[in-house]
Protein backbone atom coordinates (compact mmCIF):
# COMPACT_ATOMS: atom_id res chain seq x y z
CA UNK A 1 0.00 0.00 0.00
CA UNK A 2 1.14 3.47 -0.71
CA UNK A 3 0.84 6.39 1.62
CA UNK A 4 -1.97 8.90 1.12
CA UNK A 5 -0.98 12.44 0.15
CA UNK A 6 -0.49 14.67 3.14
CA UNK A 7 -0.12 11.71 5.49
CA UNK A 8 3.60 11.41 6.00
CA UNK A 9 3.66 9.22 9.14
CA UNK A 10 1.62 6.13 8.55
CA UNK A 11 1.54 3.17 10.83
CA UNK A 12 0.59 -0.35 9.77
CA UNK A 13 -2.64 0.04 11.73
CA UNK A 14 -3.43 3.19 9.87
CA UNK A 15 -2.78 1.44 6.58
CA UNK A 16 -5.07 -1.45 7.45
CA UNK A 17 -7.71 1.01 8.65
CA UNK A 18 -7.53 3.05 5.42
CA UNK A 19 -7.51 -0.09 3.29
CA UNK A 20 -10.69 -1.23 5.03
CA UNK A 21 -12.38 2.11 4.39
CA UNK A 22 -11.34 2.08 0.73
CA UNK A 23 -12.51 -1.45 0.31
CA UNK A 24 -15.89 -0.73 1.89
CA UNK A 25 -16.45 2.43 -0.14
CA UNK A 26 -19.52 2.49 -2.34
CA UNK A 27 -17.42 4.29 -4.97
CA UNK A 28 -15.08 2.29 -7.09
CA UNK A 29 -11.52 3.19 -6.10
CA UNK A 30 -8.38 2.06 -7.83
CA UNK A 31 -4.73 2.98 -7.80
CA UNK A 32 -2.15 2.69 -10.56
CA UNK A 33 1.49 3.41 -11.07
CA UNK A 34 2.34 6.45 -13.21
CA UNK A 35 2.64 4.13 -16.17
CA UNK A 36 -0.82 2.75 -15.61
CA UNK A 37 -0.21 -0.59 -13.92
CA UNK A 38 -3.05 -1.34 -11.49
CA UNK A 39 -1.90 -1.64 -7.88
CA UNK A 40 -5.20 -1.59 -6.04
CA UNK A 41 -8.83 -2.39 -7.02
CA UNK A 42 -11.58 -2.28 -4.41
CA UNK A 43 -14.77 -4.32 -4.17
CA UNK A 44 -16.86 -1.53 -5.66
CA UNK A 45 -14.58 -1.73 -8.75
CA UNK A 46 -15.31 -5.44 -8.90
CA UNK A 47 -19.03 -4.79 -8.61
CA UNK A 48 -19.05 -2.08 -11.23
CA UNK A 49 -16.82 -3.64 -13.89
CA UNK A 50 -16.97 -7.35 -13.05
CA UNK A 51 -13.19 -7.86 -12.79
CA UNK A 52 -11.83 -9.14 -9.47
CA UNK A 53 -8.78 -7.60 -7.78
CA UNK A 54 -6.81 -10.79 -8.59
CA UNK A 55 -7.60 -10.37 -12.28
CA UNK A 56 -6.72 -6.71 -12.42
CA UNK A 57 -3.80 -6.07 -10.14
CA UNK A 58 -0.68 -5.98 -12.27
CA UNK A 59 -2.67 -5.33 -15.46
CA UNK A 60 -2.79 -2.03 -17.38
CA UNK A 61 -5.67 0.32 -16.55
CA UNK A 62 -5.96 0.84 -20.33
CA UNK A 63 -7.58 -2.62 -20.45
CA UNK A 64 -10.85 -1.07 -19.28
CA UNK A 65 -10.65 1.93 -21.67
CA UNK A 66 -12.47 1.70 -25.00
CA UNK A 67 -10.01 1.75 -27.92
CA UNK A 68 -11.18 5.12 -29.20
CA UNK A 69 -10.66 6.72 -25.78
CA UNK A 70 -7.15 5.38 -25.07
CA UNK A 71 -5.36 8.57 -26.15
CA UNK A 72 -7.68 10.57 -23.88
CA UNK A 73 -6.84 8.28 -20.95
CA UNK A 74 -3.11 8.63 -21.66
CA UNK A 75 -3.37 12.42 -21.73
CA UNK A 76 -5.15 12.42 -18.36
CA UNK A 77 -2.57 10.05 -16.88
CA UNK A 78 0.22 12.41 -18.01
CA UNK A 79 -1.57 15.36 -16.50
CA UNK A 80 -2.21 13.68 -13.15
CA UNK A 81 1.31 12.22 -13.07
CA UNK A 82 2.64 15.75 -13.38
CA UNK A 83 0.75 16.58 -10.16
CA UNK A 84 -2.54 17.93 -11.50
CA UNK A 85 -5.74 16.36 -10.12
CA UNK A 86 -8.75 15.90 -12.46
CA UNK A 87 -12.20 16.32 -10.96
CA UNK A 88 -15.22 14.23 -12.08
CA UNK A 89 -14.05 13.50 -15.59
CA UNK A 90 -17.01 12.02 -17.50
CA UNK A 91 -16.06 9.20 -19.80
CA UNK A 92 -16.81 5.58 -20.64
CA UNK A 93 -15.18 2.42 -19.33
CA UNK A 94 -15.70 -1.19 -20.35
CA UNK A 95 -17.03 -3.86 -18.01
CA UNK A 96 -15.66 -7.38 -18.20
CA UNK A 97 -18.59 -8.45 -20.37
CA UNK A 98 -17.74 -5.68 -22.85
CA UNK A 99 -20.65 -3.46 -21.82
CA UNK A 100 -19.76 0.27 -21.86
CA UNK A 101 -20.47 2.06 -18.58
CA UNK A 102 -20.78 5.80 -18.30
CA UNK A 103 -18.59 6.92 -15.42
CA UNK A 104 -17.30 10.07 -13.72
CA UNK A 105 -13.73 9.61 -12.48
CA UNK A 106 -11.85 11.86 -10.09
CA UNK A 107 -8.08 11.35 -10.51
CA UNK A 108 -5.55 12.40 -7.90
CA UNK A 109 -1.78 12.06 -7.91
CA UNK A 110 -0.33 9.74 -5.25
CA UNK A 111 2.84 11.14 -3.72
CA UNK A 112 5.52 9.48 -1.67
CA UNK A 113 6.95 10.93 1.54
CA UNK A 114 9.04 13.38 -0.55
CA UNK A 115 6.11 14.71 -2.50
CA UNK A 116 7.17 12.81 -5.59
CA UNK A 117 4.23 11.52 -7.69
CA UNK A 118 4.45 7.74 -7.68
CA UNK A 119 0.98 6.82 -8.83
CA UNK A 120 -2.55 7.82 -9.67
CA UNK A 121 -5.71 7.13 -7.67
CA UNK A 122 -9.08 7.05 -9.31
CA UNK A 123 -12.50 7.31 -7.72
CA UNK A 124 -15.01 6.14 -10.23
CA UNK A 125 -18.77 6.64 -10.07
CA UNK A 126 -21.31 4.92 -12.33
CA UNK A 127 -23.31 7.77 -13.82
CA UNK A 128 -25.32 5.68 -16.28
CA UNK A 129 -28.54 6.20 -14.33
CA UNK A 130 -27.92 9.89 -13.74
CA UNK A 131 -27.03 10.38 -17.42
CA UNK A 132 -30.11 8.50 -18.49
CA UNK A 133 -32.21 10.61 -16.16
CA UNK A 134 -30.61 13.79 -17.50
CA UNK A 135 -31.19 12.66 -21.05
CA UNK A 136 -34.80 11.78 -20.40
CA UNK A 137 -35.32 15.09 -18.58
CA UNK A 138 -33.82 16.92 -21.56
CA UNK A 139 -35.96 14.81 -23.88
CA UNK A 140 -39.11 15.59 -21.88
CA UNK A 141 -38.25 19.28 -21.86
CA UNK A 142 -37.76 19.15 -25.63
CA UNK A 143 -41.06 17.33 -26.08
CA UNK A 144 -42.90 19.88 -23.99
CA UNK A 145 -41.19 22.73 -25.82
CA UNK A 146 -41.94 21.35 -29.26
CA UNK A 147 -45.41 19.93 -28.52
CA UNK A 148 -48.18 21.27 -30.71
CA UNK A 149 -50.37 21.20 -27.60
CA UNK A 150 -50.10 23.99 -25.10
CA UNK A 151 -48.42 22.62 -21.96
CA UNK A 152 -48.80 24.72 -18.86
CA UNK A 153 -48.24 24.17 -15.17
CA UNK A 154 -49.75 26.05 -12.29
CA UNK A 155 -49.77 26.05 -8.52
CA UNK A 156 -52.81 25.11 -6.50
CA UNK A 157 -53.92 28.74 -6.35
CA UNK A 158 -53.80 28.92 -10.14
CA UNK A 159 -50.52 30.80 -10.56
CA UNK A 160 -48.82 29.86 -13.83
CA UNK A 161 -45.37 28.31 -13.34
CA UNK A 162 -44.58 27.19 -16.88
CA UNK A 163 -45.94 28.08 -20.29
CA UNK A 164 -44.60 26.45 -23.47
CA UNK A 165 -44.31 27.77 -27.02
CA UNK A 166 -47.59 26.26 -28.14
CA UNK A 167 -49.38 27.88 -25.24
CA UNK A 168 -47.91 31.17 -26.52
CA UNK A 169 -49.22 30.39 -30.00
CA UNK A 170 -52.67 29.27 -28.86
CA UNK A 171 -53.34 32.09 -26.40
CA UNK A 172 -51.13 34.89 -27.74
CA UNK A 173 -49.60 35.50 -24.30
CA UNK A 174 -45.81 35.05 -24.08
CA UNK A 175 -44.15 32.94 -21.42
CA UNK A 176 -42.85 36.12 -19.74
CA UNK A 177 -46.36 37.56 -19.63
CA UNK A 178 -47.93 34.48 -18.07
CA UNK A 179 -45.38 33.22 -15.54
CA UNK A 180 -46.55 34.20 -12.03
CA UNK A 181 -49.85 35.40 -13.44
CA UNK A 182 -53.19 33.70 -12.68
CA UNK A 183 -54.45 31.10 -15.13
CA UNK A 184 -57.79 32.88 -14.81
CA UNK A 185 -56.40 35.42 -17.29
CA UNK A 186 -57.34 33.06 -20.12
CA UNK A 187 -60.75 32.05 -18.73
CA UNK A 188 -63.75 34.05 -19.96
CA UNK A 189 -65.69 35.82 -17.22
CA UNK A 190 -68.74 33.60 -17.38
CA UNK A 191 -66.58 30.47 -17.12
CA UNK A 192 -64.53 31.45 -14.05
CA UNK A 193 -66.41 28.88 -11.97
CA UNK A 194 -64.84 26.18 -14.18
CA UNK A 195 -61.44 26.97 -12.70
CA UNK A 196 -62.80 26.46 -9.14
CA UNK A 197 -64.07 23.05 -10.22
CA UNK A 198 -60.80 22.19 -11.98
CA UNK A 199 -58.70 23.12 -8.94
CA UNK A 200 -60.99 21.21 -6.59
CA UNK A 201 -60.69 18.14 -8.82
CA UNK A 202 -56.90 18.41 -8.95
CA UNK A 203 -56.65 18.86 -5.16
CA UNK A 204 -58.64 15.68 -4.71
CA UNK A 205 -56.02 13.89 -6.83
CA UNK A 206 -58.23 13.31 -9.86
CA UNK A 207 -57.46 14.26 -13.42
CA UNK A 208 -59.71 15.99 -15.94
CA UNK A 209 -59.58 14.34 -19.32
CA UNK A 210 -60.25 16.23 -22.56
CA UNK A 211 -62.66 18.75 -21.13
CA UNK A 212 -63.98 20.77 -24.09
CA UNK A 213 -64.47 24.41 -23.28
CA UNK A 214 -63.85 27.94 -24.46
CA UNK A 215 -60.86 30.08 -23.56
CA UNK A 216 -59.87 33.66 -24.12
CA UNK A 217 -56.97 34.76 -26.30
CA UNK A 218 -54.88 37.82 -25.56
CA UNK A 219 -56.58 39.58 -28.50
CA UNK A 220 -59.98 38.96 -26.88
CA UNK A 221 -61.03 36.21 -29.32
CA UNK A 222 -62.71 33.12 -27.89
CA UNK A 223 -61.25 29.80 -28.95
CA UNK A 224 -62.48 26.22 -28.68
CA UNK A 225 -60.06 24.12 -26.66
CA UNK A 226 -59.82 20.69 -25.13
CA UNK A 227 -58.12 20.70 -21.73
CA UNK A 228 -56.56 17.83 -19.82
CA UNK A 229 -55.51 18.66 -16.26
CA UNK A 230 -53.50 16.36 -14.00
CA UNK A 231 -52.25 16.85 -10.45
CA UNK A 232 -48.49 17.32 -10.03
CA UNK A 233 -46.97 15.72 -6.90
CA UNK A 234 -43.67 16.34 -5.19
CA UNK A 235 -41.34 13.44 -4.30
CA UNK A 236 -43.24 12.93 -1.06
CA UNK A 237 -46.48 12.46 -3.03
CA UNK A 238 -48.06 15.73 -1.98
CA UNK A 239 -50.10 17.52 -4.63
CA UNK A 240 -48.33 20.81 -5.27
CA UNK A 241 -49.87 21.97 -8.51
CA UNK A 242 -51.38 20.96 -11.80
CA UNK A 243 -50.19 20.37 -15.31
CA UNK A 244 -52.50 21.35 -18.07
CA UNK A 245 -52.46 20.24 -21.70
CA UNK A 246 -54.48 22.49 -23.98
CA UNK A 247 -55.40 21.61 -27.53
CA UNK A 248 -56.88 24.06 -29.99
CA UNK A 249 -59.91 22.20 -31.36
CA UNK A 250 -61.23 24.91 -33.66
CA UNK A 251 -60.35 22.67 -36.64
CA UNK A 252 -61.93 19.67 -35.00
CA UNK A 253 -65.14 21.60 -34.39
CA UNK A 254 -65.18 22.81 -37.98
CA UNK A 255 -64.64 19.24 -39.18
CA UNK A 256 -67.55 18.15 -37.03
CA UNK A 257 -69.74 20.85 -38.55
CA UNK A 258 -68.68 19.85 -42.06
CA UNK A 259 -69.51 16.27 -41.21
CA UNK A 260 -72.95 17.32 -40.01
CA UNK A 261 -73.53 19.22 -43.26
CA UNK A 262 -72.32 16.23 -45.23
CA UNK A 263 -74.67 13.91 -43.36
CA UNK A 264 -77.59 16.24 -44.04
CA UNK A 265 -76.58 16.12 -47.70
CA UNK A 266 -76.41 12.33 -47.65
CA UNK A 267 -79.82 12.24 -45.99
CA UNK A 268 -81.24 14.49 -48.66
CA UNK A 269 -79.62 12.65 -51.57
CA UNK A 270 -80.53 9.19 -50.42
CA UNK A 271 -84.17 10.12 -49.86
CA UNK A 272 -84.21 11.85 -53.22
CA UNK A 273 -82.87 8.68 -54.77
CA UNK A 274 -85.68 6.70 -53.15
CA UNK A 275 -88.15 9.24 -54.54
CA UNK A 276 -86.62 8.73 -57.97
CA UNK A 277 -86.98 4.95 -57.69
CA UNK A 278 -90.55 5.47 -56.55
CA UNK A 279 -91.25 7.80 -59.50
CA UNK A 280 -89.88 5.25 -61.98
CA UNK A 281 -91.88 2.41 -60.45
CA UNK A 282 -95.03 4.54 -60.41
CA UNK A 283 -94.64 5.66 -64.02
CA UNK A 284 -93.86 2.10 -65.16
CA UNK A 285 -97.06 0.78 -63.59
CA UNK A 286 -99.49 3.45 -64.72
CA UNK A 287 -102.95 2.37 -65.83
CA UNK A 288 -102.67 -0.83 -63.83
CA UNK A 289 -99.76 -2.23 -65.81
CA UNK A 290 -97.67 -5.03 -64.25
CA UNK A 291 -94.18 -3.97 -63.20
CA UNK A 292 -91.62 -5.39 -65.64
CA UNK A 293 -89.04 -6.20 -62.98
CA UNK A 294 -86.14 -6.72 -65.41
CA UNK A 295 -86.70 -3.38 -67.11
CA UNK A 296 -87.11 -1.73 -63.71
CA UNK A 297 -83.77 -3.10 -62.51
CA UNK A 298 -82.04 -2.11 -65.76
CA UNK A 299 -83.26 1.44 -65.26
CA UNK A 300 -81.98 1.48 -61.68
CA UNK A 301 -78.59 0.24 -62.89
CA UNK A 302 -78.44 3.00 -65.50
CA UNK A 303 -79.07 5.59 -62.79
CA UNK A 304 -76.49 3.99 -60.49
CA UNK A 305 -73.95 4.33 -63.33
CA UNK A 306 -74.58 8.08 -63.38
CA UNK A 307 -73.79 8.26 -59.69
CA UNK A 308 -70.32 6.75 -60.24
CA UNK A 309 -69.56 9.37 -62.88
CA UNK A 310 -70.82 12.13 -60.62
CA UNK A 311 -68.60 11.00 -57.74
CA UNK A 312 -65.58 10.97 -60.07
CA UNK A 313 -66.19 14.66 -60.65
CA UNK A 314 -66.71 15.65 -57.00
CA UNK A 315 -70.48 15.59 -57.38
CA UNK A 316 -70.37 18.70 -59.55
CA UNK A 317 -70.95 17.57 -63.12
CA UNK A 318 -70.80 14.68 -65.59
CA UNK A 319 -68.93 15.07 -68.89
CA UNK A 320 -71.50 14.37 -71.61
CA UNK A 321 -69.29 11.91 -73.54
CA UNK A 322 -68.71 9.86 -70.36
CA UNK A 323 -72.44 9.84 -69.70
CA UNK A 324 -73.30 8.65 -73.19
CA UNK A 325 -70.65 5.92 -73.15
CA UNK A 326 -71.80 4.75 -69.75
CA UNK A 327 -75.42 4.52 -70.87
CA UNK A 328 -74.39 2.65 -74.02
CA UNK A 329 -72.18 0.36 -71.94
CA UNK A 330 -74.06 -2.77 -73.00
CA UNK A 331 -73.09 -2.01 -76.62
CA UNK A 332 -69.51 -0.97 -75.85
CA UNK A 333 -68.05 -3.14 -78.63
CA UNK A 334 -70.25 -1.44 -81.24
CA UNK A 335 -69.08 2.07 -80.41
CA UNK A 336 -66.79 3.34 -83.16
CA UNK A 337 -68.24 1.06 -85.80
CA UNK A 338 -72.03 0.65 -85.74
CA UNK A 339 -72.54 3.38 -83.15
CA UNK A 340 -70.97 6.73 -84.01
CA UNK A 341 -70.68 9.26 -81.19
CA UNK A 342 -69.70 12.86 -81.89
CA UNK A 343 -69.97 16.15 -80.08
CA UNK A 344 -68.10 18.75 -78.03
CA UNK A 345 -67.29 18.21 -74.37
CA UNK A 346 -69.95 19.66 -72.06
CA UNK A 347 -70.06 19.41 -68.28
CA UNK A 348 -73.65 18.47 -67.52
CA UNK A 349 -75.34 19.33 -64.22
CA UNK A 350 -76.35 16.23 -62.25
CA UNK A 351 -80.03 16.89 -63.08
CA UNK A 352 -79.44 17.34 -66.82
CA UNK A 353 -77.20 14.27 -66.85
CA UNK A 354 -80.02 12.27 -65.30
CA UNK A 355 -82.53 13.41 -67.92
CA UNK A 356 -80.20 12.85 -70.90
CA UNK A 357 -78.83 9.64 -69.41
CA UNK A 358 -82.31 8.17 -68.95
CA UNK A 359 -83.26 9.21 -72.51
CA UNK A 360 -80.16 7.59 -74.02
CA UNK A 361 -80.78 4.46 -71.98
CA UNK A 362 -84.38 4.20 -73.22
CA UNK A 363 -83.35 4.89 -76.83
CA UNK A 364 -80.63 2.23 -76.68
CA UNK A 365 -82.96 -0.34 -75.10
CA UNK A 366 -85.57 0.35 -77.76
CA UNK A 367 -82.93 0.08 -80.52
CA UNK A 368 -81.80 -3.29 -79.21
CA UNK A 369 -85.36 -4.60 -79.03
CA UNK A 370 -86.94 -3.19 -82.18
CA UNK A 371 -84.47 -0.89 -83.93
CA UNK A 372 -81.02 -0.62 -85.45
CA UNK A 373 -79.34 -2.82 -82.83
CA UNK A 374 -81.90 -5.64 -83.14
CA UNK A 375 -80.10 -7.03 -86.22
CA UNK A 376 -76.47 -7.21 -87.35
CA UNK A 377 -76.47 -4.34 -89.79
CA UNK A 378 -78.15 -1.30 -88.28
CA UNK A 379 -76.28 1.80 -87.30
CA UNK A 380 -76.81 4.63 -84.86
CA UNK A 381 -75.43 8.14 -85.10
CA UNK A 382 -75.53 9.99 -81.79
CA UNK A 383 -74.34 13.55 -82.02
CA UNK A 384 -74.71 16.82 -80.21
CA UNK A 385 -73.63 20.39 -80.73
CA UNK A 386 -73.89 23.85 -79.23
CA UNK A 387 -75.38 26.61 -81.30
CA UNK A 388 -75.02 29.90 -79.46
CA UNK A 389 -77.15 29.54 -76.32
CA UNK A 390 -78.81 26.37 -77.55
CA UNK A 391 -77.94 22.74 -77.32
CA UNK A 392 -78.91 20.16 -79.94
CA UNK A 393 -78.73 16.42 -79.63
CA UNK A 394 -79.88 13.83 -82.10
CA UNK A 395 -80.17 10.07 -82.26
CA UNK A 396 -80.53 8.65 -85.77
CA UNK A 397 -80.97 4.98 -86.50
CA UNK A 398 -80.52 3.42 -89.93
CA UNK A 399 -80.18 0.02 -91.49
CA UNK A 400 -82.48 -1.71 -89.01
CA UNK A 401 -85.84 -3.40 -89.66
CA UNK A 402 -88.62 -1.13 -90.98
CA UNK A 403 -89.98 1.02 -88.15
CA UNK A 404 -93.66 1.15 -87.28
CA UNK A 405 -95.26 3.66 -84.94
CA UNK A 406 -95.96 1.93 -81.60
CA UNK A 407 -99.60 1.55 -80.64
CA UNK A 408 -99.31 2.95 -77.18
CA UNK A 409 -96.82 5.14 -75.37
CA UNK A 410 -95.00 3.30 -72.64
CA UNK A 411 -92.63 4.51 -70.00
CA UNK A 412 -89.64 4.72 -72.33
CA UNK A 413 -91.53 6.77 -74.85
CA UNK A 414 -92.65 9.24 -72.20
CA UNK A 415 -89.13 9.51 -70.80
CA UNK A 416 -87.53 10.38 -74.14
CA UNK A 417 -90.17 12.98 -74.91
CA UNK A 418 -92.26 14.35 -72.01
CA UNK A 419 -89.73 13.93 -69.22
CA UNK A 420 -86.84 15.39 -71.20
CA UNK A 421 -89.01 18.21 -72.53
CA UNK A 422 -90.20 19.19 -69.04
CA UNK A 423 -86.91 18.59 -67.27
CA UNK A 424 -84.75 20.53 -69.71
CA UNK A 425 -87.21 23.19 -70.93
CA UNK A 426 -86.61 21.77 -74.36
CA UNK A 427 -88.28 20.77 -77.58
CA UNK A 428 -88.25 17.10 -78.41
CA UNK A 429 -89.16 15.50 -81.73
CA UNK A 430 -89.59 11.77 -82.07
CA UNK A 431 -89.91 10.60 -85.65
CA UNK A 432 -90.76 6.95 -86.26
CA UNK A 433 -89.44 7.12 -89.84
CA UNK A 434 -89.65 3.72 -91.61
CA UNK A 435 -85.87 3.85 -92.29
CA UNK A 436 -85.03 4.29 -88.62
CA UNK A 437 -86.06 6.11 -85.46
CA UNK A 438 -85.00 9.73 -85.15
CA UNK A 439 -84.97 11.62 -81.86
CA UNK A 440 -84.02 15.23 -81.61
CA UNK A 441 -83.63 17.45 -78.53
CA UNK A 442 -83.12 21.19 -78.53
CA UNK A 443 -82.88 23.09 -75.25
CA UNK A 444 -81.19 26.11 -73.71
CA UNK A 445 -77.51 25.31 -73.00
CA UNK A 446 -77.98 27.06 -69.68
CA UNK A 447 -80.35 24.27 -68.57
CA UNK A 448 -77.61 21.68 -69.05
CA UNK A 449 -74.44 23.16 -67.79
CA UNK A 450 -73.30 25.61 -65.19
CA UNK A 451 -69.78 26.00 -66.49
CA UNK A 452 -70.50 28.80 -68.91
CA UNK A 453 -73.01 30.66 -66.77
CA UNK A 454 -72.12 30.14 -63.15
CA UNK A 455 -68.94 30.15 -61.18
CA UNK A 456 -67.97 26.61 -60.23
CA UNK A 457 -68.33 25.60 -56.64
Amino acid sequence: MHGMPGAPHVTDDDTAYLAAIVNASADAIFGTTTDGIIRSWNTACERMLGYSAEEMIGQSILDIVPAELKHEALAIRDRVSSGDPVESFETVRLAKDGRPIEVAITYSPIRDGHGQVIGVSGIMRDVTTIKAAQRSAAMLAAIVASSSDGVVSKTLDGTVTSWNKSAERIFGFSEAEMINRSIRTIIPGERQAEEDRILATVVSGEMIDNFETVRLRKDGALIDVSVTVSPVRDSAGRIIGASKIVRDITDKRQTREQLRTLLAEVNHRSKNMLSLVQAIARQMTRHGRQLDLNRFLERLQAIAGNQDLLIQNDWRFIPIADLVRSQLGAFRDLIGNRIAIAGPQIELTPEAAQAIGMAVHELATNAAKYGALSGDEGRIALSWSCDGDDFDMSWRESGGPPVTVPEHRGFGSRVISDMVRAGLDGEVEVDFAPTGLRWHLRCPLQRLSRSSNYARR
Binding site: A264, L274, E351, R414
Partner: protein, 120 residues
Protein backbone atom coordinates in the same frame (compact mmCIF):
# COMPACT_ATOMS: atom_id res chain seq x y z
CA UNK B 1 -100.75 25.34 -68.20
CA UNK B 2 -103.13 27.08 -65.78
CA UNK B 3 -106.78 26.31 -66.17
CA UNK B 4 -109.49 28.67 -64.98
CA UNK B 5 -111.79 26.18 -63.24
CA UNK B 6 -109.04 24.04 -61.75
CA UNK B 7 -106.67 24.54 -58.87
CA UNK B 8 -103.35 25.66 -60.33
CA UNK B 9 -100.28 24.13 -58.75
CA UNK B 10 -96.65 25.15 -59.21
CA UNK B 11 -94.15 22.32 -58.77
CA UNK B 12 -90.60 23.23 -57.77
CA UNK B 13 -88.36 20.18 -58.15
CA UNK B 14 -84.85 19.93 -59.59
CA UNK B 15 -84.89 16.21 -60.35
CA UNK B 16 -86.39 15.88 -63.86
CA UNK B 17 -87.89 12.44 -63.32
CA UNK B 18 -89.38 13.23 -59.92
CA UNK B 19 -90.77 16.52 -61.26
CA UNK B 20 -92.23 14.74 -64.26
CA UNK B 21 -93.80 12.07 -62.05
CA UNK B 22 -95.27 14.66 -59.66
CA UNK B 23 -96.82 16.64 -62.49
CA UNK B 24 -98.51 13.52 -63.90
CA UNK B 25 -99.71 12.40 -60.50
CA UNK B 26 -101.14 15.80 -59.57
CA UNK B 27 -102.80 16.21 -62.97
CA UNK B 28 -104.38 12.85 -62.48
CA UNK B 29 -105.61 14.00 -59.06
CA UNK B 30 -107.41 16.88 -60.77
CA UNK B 31 -104.98 19.76 -60.42
CA UNK B 32 -103.72 21.94 -63.26
CA UNK B 33 -99.94 22.25 -63.36
CA UNK B 34 -98.55 25.76 -63.76
CA UNK B 35 -95.14 24.27 -64.50
CA UNK B 36 -92.26 22.27 -63.07
CA UNK B 37 -89.49 24.66 -62.06
CA UNK B 38 -86.04 23.23 -61.30
CA UNK B 39 -84.58 26.56 -60.17
CA UNK B 40 -85.54 29.62 -58.12
CA UNK B 41 -85.41 31.91 -61.15
CA UNK B 42 -87.68 29.65 -63.23
CA UNK B 43 -90.16 29.40 -60.34
CA UNK B 44 -90.27 33.17 -59.77
CA UNK B 45 -90.67 33.65 -63.52
CA UNK B 46 -93.67 31.28 -63.60
CA UNK B 47 -95.18 32.93 -60.52
CA UNK B 48 -95.08 36.34 -62.18
CA UNK B 49 -96.85 35.12 -65.29
CA UNK B 50 -99.45 32.68 -64.07
CA UNK B 51 -102.17 32.42 -61.52
CA UNK B 52 -101.03 30.02 -58.88
CA UNK B 53 -103.23 28.65 -56.07
CA UNK B 54 -100.85 26.21 -54.45
CA UNK B 55 -97.23 25.13 -54.67
CA UNK B 56 -95.14 22.07 -53.92
CA UNK B 57 -91.57 23.05 -53.05
CA UNK B 58 -88.60 20.74 -52.96
CA UNK B 59 -86.46 22.46 -50.32
CA UNK B 60 -83.03 21.62 -51.77
CA UNK B 61 -82.44 22.54 -55.41
CA UNK B 62 -78.83 21.47 -55.76
CA UNK B 63 -76.84 24.71 -55.55
CA UNK B 64 -79.69 26.71 -53.99
CA UNK B 65 -82.68 26.21 -51.72
CA UNK B 66 -86.22 27.16 -52.54
CA UNK B 67 -86.35 29.59 -49.58
CA UNK B 68 -86.69 32.66 -51.88
CA UNK B 69 -89.71 31.00 -53.53
CA UNK B 70 -91.21 30.29 -50.10
CA UNK B 71 -90.82 33.99 -49.23
CA UNK B 72 -92.44 35.09 -52.50
CA UNK B 73 -95.35 32.68 -52.00
CA UNK B 74 -95.88 33.76 -48.38
CA UNK B 75 -95.86 37.41 -49.48
CA UNK B 76 -98.46 36.62 -52.15
CA UNK B 77 -100.55 34.58 -49.74
CA UNK B 78 -100.15 31.39 -51.77
CA UNK B 79 -100.06 28.32 -49.51
CA UNK B 80 -97.40 25.71 -50.19
CA UNK B 81 -96.26 22.29 -49.07
CA UNK B 82 -92.56 21.55 -48.61
CA UNK B 83 -91.16 18.21 -49.68
CA UNK B 84 -87.64 17.29 -48.72
CA UNK B 85 -85.07 14.64 -47.99
CA UNK B 86 -83.81 16.79 -45.15
CA UNK B 87 -84.93 16.20 -41.63
CA UNK B 88 -87.12 18.95 -40.14
CA UNK B 89 -84.32 20.75 -38.31
CA UNK B 90 -82.22 20.94 -41.48
CA UNK B 91 -84.78 23.08 -43.34
CA UNK B 92 -84.44 26.86 -43.70
CA UNK B 93 -86.71 28.94 -41.45
CA UNK B 94 -88.92 29.96 -44.39
CA UNK B 95 -90.44 26.49 -44.14
CA UNK B 96 -91.09 26.63 -40.41
CA UNK B 97 -94.85 27.04 -40.72
CA UNK B 98 -95.43 25.10 -43.93
CA UNK B 99 -96.57 21.48 -43.90
CA UNK B 100 -93.59 19.29 -44.63
CA UNK B 101 -93.59 15.92 -46.36
CA UNK B 102 -90.49 13.80 -46.05
CA UNK B 103 -89.34 12.14 -49.29
CA UNK B 104 -90.30 9.62 -50.46
CA UNK B 105 -94.04 10.00 -49.95
CA UNK B 106 -97.20 8.67 -51.50
CA UNK B 107 -99.13 10.86 -53.90
CA UNK B 108 -102.31 10.44 -51.87
CA UNK B 109 -100.63 12.09 -48.88
CA UNK B 110 -99.40 14.99 -50.98
CA UNK B 111 -102.83 15.48 -52.54
CA UNK B 112 -104.53 15.41 -49.14
CA UNK B 113 -102.01 17.85 -47.68
CA UNK B 114 -102.39 20.19 -50.66
CA UNK B 115 -106.19 20.17 -50.38
CA UNK B 116 -105.98 21.05 -46.69
CA UNK B 117 -104.12 24.24 -47.62
CA UNK B 118 -107.01 25.54 -49.70
CA UNK B 119 -109.45 28.09 -48.24
CA UNK B 120 -112.76 26.41 -47.51
Amino acid sequence: MPVADKINVLIVEDDPMIGFDLSIELEEAGFAIVGVAPTVSKALHLLQRHRCDLAVLDVNLGLETSAPIARALSAAGVPFVAVTGYSLDQCPEEFATAPLLSKPFQTSRLVATLRRQLPR
